[in-house]
């Protein structure tokens, strides 16, 4: 058995891993912001009266949701140069992960919008509210609270999917751990520490999401 945990080595590589953790968090954050807005756009596009647009967006969302993120990352990164568009790993990664999660978030929004009672729509029509006001002032504010749980879960989800960005060379946590492993021929400490760091962030984050959800429910009087 060659199991020999080296604490000195662990502490030596810890600063590098923690610095890479910041990159991981940044990637998750940027990807999530893209997904929040693009997801809403995809959800609203499916509610327009143009059947063709609804159909295309619906199929697009289904396609994104049923194909692997890692393949989408490769696709975005390598297909651009074929047509003369060079994307940096960060740009390609953010586009891929943002697009992937916007498909998931659009489903969360869609469920939220569907949960707004029909009477609310009818009331808006009765007082002659414009479509824009109906959405901005009546529907979306009511659609958001039931969506909070789903939105929060996908925030944790996007964080856990960022290691896939390492495949195109984004210097996040997984990429750094692999680099350290290759430099020192030791994979035990870096890979285990990656797992520990992920647990240390995602477990409290999941707890916070639950707390926030409860707080939101109470605040909305539910």
């Amino acid at each position: 058995m060659r199991f020999d945990w080296n604490w000195a080595f662990t502490f030596e590589i810890l600063p590098r891993l923690l610095a890479a953790t910041l990159n991981t968090l940044a990637a998750a954050g940027i990807g999530y912001v893209i997904a929040i807005f693009l997801g809403l756009a995809l959800a609203l596009a499916q509610r327009t009266p143009w059947g063709m647009l609804t159909f295309v967006v619906r199929e697009f969302v289904e396609f994104i949701r049923s194909t692997p993120l890692v393949l989408q990352i490769f696709f975005v990164f390598y297909v651009g140069p074929q047509f003369g568009i060079r994307l940096s790993p960060w740009t390609a990664g953010m586009i891929a992960i943002g697009l992937h999660y916007s498909a998931y978030l659009s489903e969360v929004y869609r469920a939220g919008i569907d949960s707004v009672p029909k009477g609310q729509w009818e009331a808006c029509r009765a007082i002659n509210m414009s479509t824009r006001d109906t959405y901005l002032r009546i529907v979306i504010p009511q659609a958001l609270p039931p969506s909070i749980a789903g939105l929060g879960n996908y925030l944790v989800g996007i964080f856990k999917d960022t290691p896939m960005l390492s495949v195109i060379g984004v210097a996040e946590l997984m990429h750094t751990a692999n680099a350290i492993g290759a430099e020192h021929y030791r994979f035990l400490e870096p890979l285990t520490m990656v797992g520990v760091i992920f647990l240390a962030i995602s477990l409290p984050a999941a707890g916070l999401v639950r707390l926030f959800e409860g707080w939101m429910r109470r605040k909305m009087g539910m």
């Binding site: 049923s66 890692v70 997984m174 647990l199």
Partner: protein, 221 residues
Amino acid sequence: MSIWDFVVAYGPRIADGTLVTIAQFLLATLVAIAVALVMGLGKLSGNWLIRTPAVVYIEIFRGTSLLVQLYWIFFVLPLFGITLDKFTAGFLSVGLNIGAYGAELVRGAIQSVPKGQWEAAYALSMSPAKRMRRIILPQALAIMLPPWGNLLIELLKGTALVSLIAVADLMFQARQINASTFLSAQAFGIALLVYYVLARFLVTPFMRWLERVVARRLGRA
């Protein structure tokens, strides 16, 4: 190179990769179902010696990434004297990861079987094991099949990661073809389409069919 020439030239390799992906999918599904049942029932156990390991397992596997688990099982586990070949390490990691999510589905479904069913089984003085097997689990199965459909799609997508430890699956073949031809749009585009077809026209219809069968067997169709 037209898309048709591309398919003729690289179709066989893509087909080989697809077969490996399907094999990984089926084996990982078996692992996931076994893990989900054991850990889901374990989490419901009244005995903390059984409950604690199940909770720890579920939190660890749901709290870290599949990719981290895959690398850990493939690169670190050999240091503990457990060396797995890449094919086994691949489907085992995917199955163990998805199984942790499945365990929560099993737990939730068992808990949502109506209380009267538990009481009726108790009134008939069924043993706990028999009650679970004959009364609770069949009804829980009907409740949890729809979310399992989504989970199996996640599992299929998860198998794409095994290409990163050089299992020659669909994703791996697409990368190889891309590296030797630089025809990225064709290589990755066709791979995306194959995954889509597998998910949308094989896994999803199969799960729908299974839902109908279970509903009929429970006399609910």
